[in-house]
């Protein structure tokens, strides 16, 4: 299979957060967990102020520290050679070593049963309003907008939890369930700025490679030698 990289064009990125919400939506990610996120900062003094925004996600590193430290092979590079760092919850023992080793802070640990908001029984007006529990019972899924594709696609296995079980870690899998079905990761699809490009590093003609040739790029914490597969081009801020 193709060796995937993601290129994020910060000049196009509007900092809107659609990537984060759509990711949570696609992957049934609970409150407080982020598979994709962002960093931002305001630098300078009024009126010479710059706002910088960088959307983030798992970097699917070639030398992934989280994979290296996993004692049971739960966190692993995809056997298909796509470069994706995948996770096997059946093997995961919840030791959180990956979380500690991960320099990017993209791994979440399920200390409790996921989606407490949608299991909650509180009704703000008795008999008139509903509760998380009542809504999810009525629609038959947790969360109510539960996306079944997260769990029931990919030929890798058909067992990845649509909602993760207690006691395991979870993180961005580059939408392996979509990519392996020939679809772009959902954050790429949902980005209204078309700021994200996923492509084959081995294919000289892939859009990703074209962008990497055209523009100077950087990756996060490159000096650590993790060899991230998420590249950033151009600047968020264009103020003269």
């Amino acid at each position: 299979m193709a060796k995937y990289v993601m290129v994020i064009d910060l000049h196009k990125c509007a900092g809107c957060g659609a990537c984060v919400i759509s990711c949570k939506n696609e992957n049934n990610v609970q409150e407080g967990f982020y598979w994709g996120h962002y960093t931002h900062k305001t630098v300078g003094k009024f009126p010479n102020v710059n706002y910088e925004f960088i959307p983030t996600l798992c970097n699917h590193c070639d030398n992934a520290p989280c994979v290296e430290v996993c004692p049971v092979g739960a966190m692993h590079k995809d056997e298909d050679g796509t470069g994706m760092v995948l996770h096997d919850p059946d093997k995961c023992i919840g030791c959180k070593r990956c979380q500690k080793a991960d320099p990017y802070g993209v791994i979440n640990f399920n200390k409790e049963k996921a989606h407490p908001f949608w299991r909650d029984n509180e009704k703000i007006i008795p008999k008139v309003t509903s509760s998380g529990k009542e809504v999810t019972k009525a629609v038959g899924e947790i969360p109510p907008y539960y996306n079944p594709a997260r769990a029931n696609t990919t030929d890798r296995d058909k067992t990845y939890d649509g909602v993760r079980r207690k006691g395991v870690v979870e993180k961005c899998l580059l939408c392996d369930h979509r990519v392996k079905e020939g679809l772009k990761p959902y954050c790429v699809t949902a980005c209204p700025a078309d700021a994200r490009v996923i492509g084959n590093l081995d294919d000289n003609n892939s859009e990703a490679n074209k962008l990497l040739k055209k523009y100077k790029s950087f990756r996060l914490k490159e000096s650590l030698g993790t060899e991230p597969r998420v590249y950033y081009i151009r600047d968020f801020n264009s103020q003269k």
């Binding site: 000049h11 196009k12 984060v20 008139v128 899924e141 699809t189």
Partner: protein, 814 residues
């Protein structure tokens, strides 16, 4: 390579088109439905305005439709005492019980010949509003369909109307533009055409200059070439000085405006110009404008007022004009919803006139025709009582001396939404006894919220049709659970972007979980049916006789069929293959329901140059149109225009009133007691203050530059904060002359010293358990800006003056 779309489903679902009305962009969208559940949202693939894009709000609506705090069944208040601190003690009732009580209260008005004492308060809407707010209200016999429009953006429309006779939002041709000037506009985040703007912005930055006038480093300012952090309310100084620069430097567009007869530029600082030396083409009064309002208004003059350097003003004006005519001066609420913002709106829009970008490629344009039908006439369904009721003046005091509300040139044609509270309290022009509010929350969304709380307490019978138990709901006698507009309801809206006008349909894409009804169509049908049972049948007769299925001629048998037929009637020209229209040809109703959107052809530029529809037919720098409108309003009140201007808090007298000109910002509070100018802004996650109960809203609140997740912060310049001994995270009180709220302090360099900026949208003391810190104890998360904003107006348009630093505040550390 990998595919973007997943219509070839990996989840067994189906995409169904509908409309997102999270903001007023009004996006055509598609919802993925799996086993009857809505699981995802994307932009409608057939939309030429947004090309399949949506902003973060589109996804977020999933947490609205499945919000656990939605009202499941009708309810009734059992505590007769009303007030913020009273528990309404709501109990569930059946639809029949609820409708019966409403019908009784309304019929009581008919018996007493006082149908005018009934009001429909409309908030957000689809064009099915013409049932509940239009036909239902009128046939019943009340003139009082009161819309929310004046808390939204009427002052903005004032700018384009009194220059080019266009009362509406402009479309802006981003694809072909070479420069974009944004006046308090933040299109990467909010209102309007957000997804298209986000999608186009990278290219816009590559091909065009971008300058943003905003007191705050907004989302768009963060991605602009120039940020002009204007002192709130002083935008007018910038616009006027830019016009001065453009004329003084000879940079106006000669094709559009014309030129001096001998080609010699006489626009010299401080010098009057002889009108006969200039020959205008498509404009009216450029020399008058110079003489009256521009000749002394140099960048140096404006620098003192606006806080922006003369150098930057001159540079931006010059770059903008040199890039003309394919440029945009983008007018928005931020620079116009001020007490004296009407003329700022005119000035900002007049820049489009100066550089010839109005109605031009890459510029500020109108929209192509949208050929929808009206509902059939209702006059023959009016009985004696109704006719008498309709003779009364509308209840919001529009057209009063202090409220000209000059919509489309007519005194009192516009609404003065926020004043309805005072009208109820003062019983002026008369007492209001019964009201239905839908898709609105005026006790939260109108400045001076305390007046609404009092007015709703006073109102004898109030019905709220709402998805959530909101602030306004707390004062209701009957509460009806509303169908969510995007997932559960029929309707349509009209909008435009990317040179295409469009109609996009709202339709039920899922079965509602709860016992909800469509606010604009089903509820009025049910009330009409109940009234007929009790002997008054005019309403139901209109609905059954006039709202028939245009395909089969069948009368609606129930409220659901009625809703669908109503939508079919209005949109028939778009889907009926027998009717030819300029735009998408759609083959029948079924196909329209599958497509969800109708697109016009691309806009034809310069179509209004020969006649803008103003009094002179020209683009008016000297507005004969405004002169006439003001004159008529003055005459109505037996006075002169100067007196009207004074009453409306404007400074201009004489001829100056007819040209775009500078007016000093009007503020509440003395500087000595209230040292900070307060200004507010919108969130890129606000679904019009209805999304704060979504977890995604709270988790991502920091995508608004300067803001914090799960928080509501007042952004204070670190210099000021240091003097006050305040740090980020400190709990503070913001106190204005009319109210106070609590929130957290955020030290941020994106606001000017002497000003405090805060986002609108948080501070719900009702609405749901996520929005509030503690719903039961009515403890808000942060504070609602409208509790400290005074209820003031841009009176010429009737707009609520929520921007422009309308109030000063003081800050107290708690």
């Amino acid at each position: 390579s990998l595919a973007k779309d997943d219509s070839n489903s990996i989840d067994g679902g189906e995409w169904k088109p509908t409309t997102c009305q999270g903001c007023t962009t009004w996006c055509p969208v598609e919802v993925k439905v799996v086993d009857g559940r809505a699981i995802k949202v994307k932009g409608n693939r057939y939309s030429k305005a947004h090309n399949g894009n949506i902003c973060p709000r589109g996804h977020m609506s999933l947490q609205q439709v499945y919000d656990p705090d939605r009202i499941k069944v009708p309810m009734k208040r059992t505590n007769p005492k009303k007030g913020r601190n009273e528990d309404p003690k709501f109990v569930p009732i059946t639809w029949d019980e609820a409708i019966e009580e409403i019908a009784d209260r309304m019929l009581e008005l008919r018996e007493n010949n006082e149908t005018h004492k009934y009001v429909t308060f409309r908030g957000r809407y689809t064009y099915m509003r013409d049932i509940i707010y239009g036909k239902f209200t009128k046939i019943f016999g009340s003139p009082n369909g009161i819309s929310h429009s004046a808390i939204c953006a009427e002052a903005e429309k004032f700018g384009s109307y009194y220059t080019e006779a266009y009362w509406g939002y402009r479309d802006y041709d981003l694809e072909n533009t070479k420069y974009v000037l944004l006046w308090g506009a933040d299109p990467l985040a909010s209102n309007r055409q957000v997804p298209h703007s986000i999608n186009a912005w990278g290219d816009v930055l590559d091909q065009a200059g971008v300058a943003v006038m905003d007191p705050r480093l907004s989302a768009t300012a963060a991605k602009a070439d120039e940020w002009l952090p204007v002192i709130p309310g002083e935008d007018g100084a910038l616009a006027i000085a830019m016009a001065h620069v453009i004329l003084a430097k000879g940079l106006w567009n000669k094709e559009f405006v014309g030129d001096f007869v001998d080609g010699k530029n006489r626009f010299k600082v401080g010098e009057e110009v002889d009108e006969s030396t200039f020959k205008e083409n498509y404009t009216n009064g450029v020399v008058k404008w110079w003489n009256l309002g521009l000749k002394d208004k140099t960048p140096q003059w404006a620098a003192k007022r606006s806080g922006i350097s003369a150098k930057q003003i001159e540079r931006v004006a010059t770059d903008f004009a040199k890039a003309g005519p394919n440029v945009i001066s983008w007018l928005a609420t931020g620079a116009s919803m001020h007490v004296r913002g009407g003329y700022t709106a005119m000035a900002a829009h007049a820049l489009n006139g100066l550089v010839g970008s109005v109605d031009n490629k890459g510029g500020s344009i109108r929209h192509s025709d949208i050929p929808v039908d009206d509902f059939p006439g209702y006059k023959k369904y009016l009985d004696k009582v109704a006719k008498k009721g309709l003779e009364h003046h509308k209840m919001d005091q529009r057209g009063y001396k202090e409220f000209p509300a000059l919509k489309k040139g007519k005194s009192g044609k516009g609404v003065v939404t926020n004043n309805a509270a005072d009208a109820i309290l003062d019983e002026e022009p008369y007492e209001i006894k019964v009201a239905i509010g839908y898709w609105n929350n005026f006790a939260f969304s109108c400045s001076g919220t305390d007046r609404w709380e009092e007015a709703l307490t006073k109102l004898p019978f109030f019905v709220h049709i709402t998805t959530n138990p909101a602030e306004m709901t707390q004062f209701a006698d009957i509460v009806l659970p509303a169908a969510q507009h995007k997932y559960e309801k029929f309707g349509y809206v009209k909008s435009k972007a990317n040179t295409h006008a469009y109609v996009t349909m709202n339709q039920p894409v899922i079965e509602p979980l709860w016992d909800v009804k469509m606010d604009e169509t089903e509820v009025p049908w049910l009330i009409a049916e109940k009234m007929a049972e009790k002997g008054y049948d005019k309403l139901i007769k209109y609905f059954k006789t006039e709202i028939k299925d245009p395909e089969t001629g069948k009368s609606p048998a129930n409220e659901y069929e009625f809703s669908e037929y109503a939508l079919k009637i209005r949109t028939q020209p778009l889907w009926d293959p027998k009717i030819k229209v300029n735009g998408d040809q759609i083959n029948g109703w079924k196909e329209f329901r599958k497509l969800g959107v109708w697109n016009s052809e691309s806009y034809k530029f310069k179509q209004n140059w020969d006649d803008f529809g103003t009094k002179t037919g020209k683009f008016e720098f000297y507005s004969e149109t405004l002169k006439k409108a003001l004159g008529k309003h003055a005459k109505k009140h037996h006075t002169d225009i100067d007196d009207i201007l004074e009453t409306c808090k404007y400074e201009a007298r004489g001829e100056l009133a007819f040209v775009p000109h500078y007016e000093e910002a009007y503020r509440w509070g003395e500087e000595r007691e209230y040292p900070f100018v307060f200004f507010e802004h919108r969130s890129r996650l606000n679904r019009e203050a209805r999304s704060a109960n979504c977890n995604w809203y709270q988790e991502l609140k920091d995508v608004d530059p300067g803001d914090e997740a799960w928080n509501d912060v007042a952004k204070i310049n670190p210099k000021d904060a240091k003097k006050l001994g305040i740090k980020t995270g400190d709990k503070i009180k913001l106190i204005s002359p009319t109210g106070e709220i609590e929130c957290e302090a955020k030290l941020w360099e994106g606001v000017r010293s002497g000003t405090v900026g805060k986002c609108y949208g948080q501070g719900h003391w009702a609405y749901g358990k996520v929005a509030s810190e503690d719903y039961k104890n009515k403890l808000p998360r942060g504070g609602n800006n409208n509790e400290i904003l005074p209820p003031d107006y841009e009176r010429l348009s009737g707009s609520t003056a929520r921007h422009g630093g309308v109030t000063r505040i003081k800050i107290k550390k708690i």
